[in-house]
Symmetry: C2
Subunit: 335 residues, 2 copies
């Protein structure tokens, strides 16, 4: 049974029609008579013919693939976004290619922006080069964005998110509020820090340098922040911290608990993302929920629209939500 794969000409011969007709019977059945269609179908069934996508794509000058450029595939934050993307792309007949901007070389990343490689790009990494991306395949940005690149963006309102977090802590009576940032140079880091500063200013509070802790979104960096914070005088250090990622908040909480302190009694913690597990840790984490699946879905839909030439609005801001759990409480005995 190890025959050559049947091709369209085999089907044509058996059905007694031309290859053009077979092609039409497959791609636009309504342009073919009922009888011919049946004959072609019979020939397809009897030969076990299956379309060669590579050939079709070459001829149609498309690839059938969309590439998602992910900053770090190992980061579970992106799994739900990819899931959202996949749920739109699959039914639309596109393949989802995934590339990790961390393990792929810079040059190979550019290869992905080739029309012979992919029909479109979903950029999830704001550190990529605008110049390298400009003028190539259609693209959209999601979550992060590349400054200077004019492309539709699907993102959340990071300023509003900071306002929610700070407002919540302020309402609980906190006045010494700190912020733990993401990695330097990241667009999210900037906007969340700016938002925090503004939200504090609106309440006549100032974000001093010693209340800004620099992290990099990772658990480990949150752990390190615990160290720094514990080293500061209990009477002047923040009584509440707003973290730019849940992972850092978890690392922080784990470490301060390990050192014998209690959350939220000794320090209130607000995270960012609402990743899956944080509702189930002790204490359950108060955090900013990002609609991750939706971000992925919208990004994919937007890209498909752009590919077929529909006019697309340049920016989509998805709503965030403050989820209050048990890692925050009224400012207490400490301080």
């Amino acid at each position: 049974m190890k025959h050559e794969r049947p091709k369209i000409s085999d089907v044509a011969r058996i059905a007694g029609v031309s290859t053009a007709t077979v092609s039409r019977a497959i791609s636009s059945p309504d342009r073919v008579s009922v009888e011919t269609r049946a004959a072609v179908q019979a020939a397809i069934d009897s030969t076990g013919y299956r379309l060669n996508h590579a050939a079709r794509n070459l001829r149609r000058r498309r690839t059938g693939g969309i590439v998602a450029l992910v900053p770090n595939l190992a980061n579970p934050f992106f799994s739900q976004i990819l899931s959202g993307i996949a749920s739109v792309l699959g039914p639309a007949g596109y393949n989802l290619l995934v590339a990790d901007t961390e393990t792929a070389g810079a040059d190979s990343l550019l290869d992905y922006a080739e029309p012979s490689r992919a029909d479109g790009l979903i950029v999830l990494d704001g550190r990529l080069s605008a110049d390298a991306l400009r003028g190539r395949v259609p693209l959209v940005e999601a979550c992060e964005w590349v400054p200077g690149l004019a492309a539709p963006r699907i993102r959340i309102d990071n300023l509003a998110a900071a306002e929610l977090a700070i407002g919540h802590l302020h309402d609980l009576g906190h006045r010494r509020i700190g912020h733990v940032t993401g990695p330097r140079g990241n667009v999210l880091t900037e906007s969340r820090l700016t938002g925090t500063r503004a939200a504090l200013a609106a309440r006549h509070l100032v974000l001093t340098d010693d209340a800004i802790y620099s992290g990099d979104f990772s658990i480990e960096s949150g752990q390190a922040v615990a160290d720094t914070w514990l080293g500061q005088p209990a009477t002047s250090r923040p009584t509440a911290l707003f973290f730019a990622s849940d992972a850092m908040a978890c690392g922080f909480i784990g470490e301060v608990q390990h050192r014998g302190l209690s959350v939220p009694r000794d320090v209130s913690v607000v995270g960012f993302d609402d990743i899956e597990l944080v509702a189930h840790i002790s204490p359950p984490l108060t955090t900013i929920r990002q609609p991750r699946t939706d971000i992925g879905r919208r990004a994919a839909e937007r890209l498909l629209a752009k590919i077929v030439g529909d006019p697309v609005d340049e920016d989509t801001i998805l709503p965030v939500e403050l989820v209050v759990r048990a890692s925050t409480c009224r400012v207490g005995r400490t301080g």
Copy 2:
């Protein structure tokens, strides 16, 4: 500047050679004289020529893509595996296509096993049909496997993992030990349950029905198990539980803590996977570590070897490791 993309014939014309020579200069430079190579390179630079992969692939009868079939893309467990796969595939010149077997229809999944779609398949979902997969593109299985499908498998020794977990709990003095399973019908569920039963039997203990809790790997199912367990008499219910996933263990711990009990004082908990966060929750989770990045890497390497026709050993069993943290302790006052 909106020209047609230059093609190989444009480069050939400018370099004053044939397209065959250009092709060789690109693919096998050493078969071309130094001068010619330089001329071709100059022409490539001046035109901005970039290879069309679709055309090359059609001609070479390959696609340059490898598909990973993931049971649930949204599950962070798979993110590190994908990362491992990507780190091998990229440098080898393959695209990584990702398909979610949950959101993709069964028929579209079969499309992925088409030689015109992908050069190979990495199957991460044991529920797929062996008949549908057999005799198509080269494939390997990782983590899970499809019974009856003869393919190289990269997996861990689930029986040995259960032995490690049960041995640890037994060493701590536990005699009433329960097991929380994965979803019914999953191959991992079966082997971990079997392993648990065997490890208990080796210690003259019996796994009774009321000490088997059925979950589905999810956090929520772990939470539900807490409910069941709390409903059992404290004098006869297990003093220790071995969970088939970390997610379930976390759901369980969160819930019993919420109900005012303490882990490990009231119940010892062993998880499975060692996902990122569990070292940082309270208490840090004792668990079985799976080398997820390595599983992905090895699966990709194995597949590439199979594609080029290297003989591949059918099965690779990767070592697991018991990571003892604070969610387990000597059997105590309770019971």
